[in-house]
């Protein structure tokens, strides 16, 4: 439950909103809430101590236990919601070690929309092949991936999800998403290692993972595609040219699915 992370006053105000998509908390500013009806501002300014209390609560009162995630700039809640963090970075030997003096938190709410990826499923299922979902941030890539996993899994295929940040398949009982009856999930494993691991051990027909982009990801994707297993993933980008320019192994993919700002499937194109 989202309200358990906030003080009773703020929690009561949050209960008035329908289908919250995002909650932004900024130092000495009013809390803003984006819901189905639009952007709203709560009459609750958050001082330094309030932000620390909320952050501590989001970390389950064990900030040290979330250190690895904090180094990536966000933490994932048990319900699958992602919390982006801004503050002062502590860098050591060129590596981000910690974020302290938190000044902003951005809570993005994870939701399940059953059959939202039906259009993608119908487009690729007949000749299923490597697929990448491309869009700018906050267009629903993870939500579409989750639903596509469910549809493919329920069609009889063995699907393995490599969920590096625990967003595609959170296990919290309260908000457990349906990923289909033939799905295996490897959580919180670095993507490149996780992909190789499941390829060797889980005998998948399809591997699903989120947000590829690094060179290590590209190498791992190449290994997967050569092995005969279908790869379905997502990429932060605005266009096909962007994808081709920034991801070296773009030509391994057959289908590219584009999402627009309205979180709808804009088009599905064949790359080869």
């Amino acid at each position: 439950m989202l309200s358990e992370y906030f003080s009773p006053e703020i929690a009561n105000k949050l209960d008035c909103f329908i289908n919250i998509q995002e909650i932004r908390i900024r130092l000495n500013q009013n809390i803003t809430v984006l819901d189905a009806l639009g952007l709203n501002e709560l009459d609750e300014k958050t001082g330094k101590q309030e932000i620390l209390n909320i952050f501590s609560s989001l970390c389950n009162f064990s900030v040290y236990a979330k250190q690895q995630e904090i180094k990536s700039g966000f933490i994932t809640l048990p319900e699958g919601h992602r919390v982006g963090i801004c503050g002062r970075c502590v860098v050591e030997n060129g590596e981000l070690k910690n974020i302290s003096n938190i000044t902003s938190l951005n809570i993005r709410i994870a939701r399940e929309f059953l059959d939202c990826s039906k259009k993608i499923y119908n487009g690729i299922n007949e000749n299923i092949d490597h697929t990448v979902i491309i869009s700018p941030p906050n267009c629903g890539k993870t939500t579409y991936l989750r639903d596509l996993t469910r549809l493919l899994s329920n069609s009889g295929k063995n699907v393995t999800v490599v969920d590096e940040r625990g967003e595609i398949a959170p296990f919290a009982e309260e908000n457990k998403f349906d990923l289909g009856k033939n799905t295996d999930v490897l959580q919180y494993c670095p993507k490149d290692k996780g992909l190789m691991l499941v390829l060797r051990t889980m005998n998948p027909e399809i591997i699903v993972t989120d947000e590829i982009g690094t060179n290590n990801d590209a190498e791992a994707v190449s290994e997967i595609t050569k092995s005969g297993v279908t790869m379905i993933t997502s990429f932060h980008g605005s266009s096909i040219e962007d994808f081709k320019e920034r991801f070296p192994k773009w030509n391994e993919f057959k289908y590219a699915v584009f999402l627009n700002k309205q979180k709808e499937v804009d088009r599905i194109i064949c790359l080869r």
């Binding site: 501590s56 609560s57 970390c59 009162f61 064990s62 900030v63 040290y64 236990a65 250190q67 904090i70």
Partner: protein, 166 residues
């Protein structure tokens, strides 16, 4: 006969008083020792397992010796909805046997636990362990000097009062 019974009663009462004072001093020192062991377990858990505080406090129960009651009370409070830090504070404040200095050191630990990265936590816990070890040394000194004195005083004063009354 009545005088002798009364005298015996007085001797036993004052002796018990002396023994209880000695036991209290000993218990305080044992609780401090238990807190040191628990903090050590917490520190190692944070260093190697990075489990969240709820799970770490449960581990403390096993390692805490005579301070077990404090951590069991804290777990009870977390089950009622308090966060681990506040639960520990409540448990420390409601325990009647813990020494004041030990309580203050542990309360400081509660205010810091879970709020920083692992390195910060380990440094803070090491400082608390160091302070508790100093406190334990002082408590053991008090047991050696005053503890036995209280025991003997209890018996002797009982005998004296009994003699005067008889």
């Amino acid at each position: 006969m009545l005088k002798i019974t009364g005298a015996l009663f007085i001797i036993v009462a004052t002796s018990m008083w002396g023994i209880n004072v000695y036991r209290d001093l000993k218990l305080k020192a044992e609780i401090t020792n238990g807190c040191i062991k628990a903090i050590f377990a917490l520190k190692e858990n944070i260093r190697f397992s990075m489990e969240n505080l709820y799970q770490s406090i449960a581990l403390c129960v096993k390692s805490s010796g005579r301070a077990k009651e404090i951590f069991e009370c804290a777990i009870e409070q977390t089950e009622k909805g308090l966060n681990p830090s506040d639960a520990l504070k409540y448990a420390l404040e409601s325990n009647k046997h813990i020494g004041n200095n030990t309580r203050n050191i542990m309360l400081y630990m509660c205010s810091q636990i879970g709020t920083t990265d692992a390195e910060g936590q380990i440094l803070m816990l090491e400082k608390c362990m160091h302070d508790l070890e100093n406190e334990q040394t002082e408590e053991n000194e008090i047991i050696k000097t005053k503890g036995i004195l209280y025991q003997k005083c209890g018996i002797v004063s009982g005998i004296l009062i009994a003699i005067i009354l008889i």
